[in-house]
Symmetry: C2
Subunit: 298 residues, 2 copies
């Protein structure tokens, strides 16, 4: 098993779509440049959800047309077949899809039962496969749901396995509300890694209750090598800075780099990206490792 970590930077999508401020296409591309200069090679850069639903991502086509698609592994989020058709026209070849592990969440959020959502997911995965693209299915609420509480672990593992069997390239175990624990993440990822290998399993965690890095380390010990992260922890509620965003890219990078585990990302170079993200969103950002770096530098 390779020890190299693949960090998928989701700040431009999962991060910015949760900010009150709408960031311009130009500024998104500048942020992207800073992230790439720091060494990030896998980046989710747009969402093809309808602009009325997520106005922060209305410029998806413009963002994608602003990058050299062959230079990095870029991906975009797609909600359904219509979103995929839109995304495909941009030349993107990697796509994120979201399934929920909770039926209540699915019904309230996307107005579909789990079965309906699953049928949509399979349909889009098939289309991507037919076109030779790469699909990653996020299993959101994998640890807990705001309405149902803890989700049965066997159910989540079974759902993920089934999605992989049906042809998705990857699944992402997603603790969307940051309610999981290191133990739970080990239980969810270990069987998938053993059966399908590290290339097909990603972990996506939020730091809502401070458990994110513990969950990342726990997953690493089970063999997980693909992790989503968001620069500065971008993605939380703008009214509670840093409180409920994605796990901060810099905190992951610090942990792995200091452990001698290769990420290919330069920790200190991430500071420019955090500062720029703060400037364009008007938010106070930065994982604790970045706060420390800043105190050290002043």
């Amino acid at each position: 098993m390779s020890d190299r970590i693949i960090l998928n930077e989701v700040g431009l999508r999962d991060g910015l779509q949760n900010q009150a401020t709408i960031v311009s296409t130009e500024d998104k591309l500048k942020l992207l440049e800073l992230l790439e200069q720091a060494g990030l090679t896998h980046l989710e850069i747009a969402s093809f959800v309808h602009p009325k639903v997520v106005p922060q991502m209305a410029d998806a086509e413009a963002v994608v047309s602003g990058v050299d698609l062959s230079s990095r592994r870029y991906s975009g989020l797609i909600p359904n077949l219509r979103g995929y058709e839109r995304a495909k026209l941009t030349g993107l070849r990697e796509f994120g899809l979201i399934m929920s592990a909770s039926s209540t969440f699915s019904e309230r959020n996307v107005k579909m039962s789990l079965d309906q959502a699953r049928a949509t997911c399979d349909e889009v995965v098939d289309a991507i496969k037919a076109d030779g693209g790469h699909s990653r299915v996020y299993i959101s609420c994998a640890c807990a749901c705001p309405y149902e509480g803890k989700i049965d672990e066997d159910f989540v593992v079974g759902l993920a396995a089934d999605i992989l069997e049906k042809g998705a390239n990857e699944v992402s175990i997603s603790d969307t509300i940051g309610a999981g624990t290191p133990l739970q993440i080990a239980n969810l990822t270990a069987p998938l890694i053993q059966q399908y290998g590290a290339e097909r399993v990603n972990l996506h965690v939020h730091d809502t209750r401070g458990q994110a890095l513990g969950m990342v380390w726990s997953a690493y010990l089970q063999g997980v090598r693909n992790f989503d992260a968001s620069i500065g922890g971008l993605g939380g509620c703008p009214f509670a800075p840093g409180a409920s965003g994605n796990v901060a890219t810099e905190d992951l990078v610090y942990m792995f780099n200091q452990s001698g585990i290769t990420t290919g990302v330069d920790f200190e170079a991430l500071e420019r990206a955090v500062a720029f993200a703060e400037a364009v969103t008007g938010s106070v950002l930065g994982g604790k490792s970045m706060q420390w770096l800043r105190r050290k530098s002043t």
Copy 2:
């Protein structure tokens, strides 16, 4: 091996001694009561360092005389034999001593070479042993030193083993500056746990770079069951709230309780202690799990 976690609450000592505000004896005892009501049974409540050096702890005798020593496992920090003599008069039977793993840090902080500090430590441990008391030796800068950088792991393990061999009841692997990683903590604790058992090894981490819970979980996987923690993350610089304090008691409690690992501590009851600590120190406190609980409750 027991799965039960022993949390040693250090907010009243390591926490409050780093606050600019001097908290009254009465308020310390009220905070202690709230912590005990939440289920904490092991508490470091005072320091017998000279009051000129740490004025926040000048009321050590008064604090100890305010508790029923037979009701909980109370401990006090002692710098040397003189401090021990002072502490012993209060009736305390458990004592923390600090050794550094870094010679530069030792020379700058306590004006002793490592050999001199070690001699002092052995002398105090012997005295405690002769009186039938319990000693815990903190090996500070166990991961890194602000002057020397990373400390050799074998050196730290060897030092800890030697201190245990000489008769200390416990050692505490202390990442005083929060510079360690989960991997490093595993390397430091695993050989000690294997050789001396879980009862004799404690972990003390700060969350300076966001790595604390990852380090705690990593140590747990190696068999560590004794952890220091500080209510609300108390202990950091008062000018950067929450940034560099001890790992927050509530974040540990959340992680273990949610994992079905017994702490004996009621997570929600800790909120009253955090709120009270905030009121008496004038600081914004609270680990991320507490920030989450508060948002949920409003």
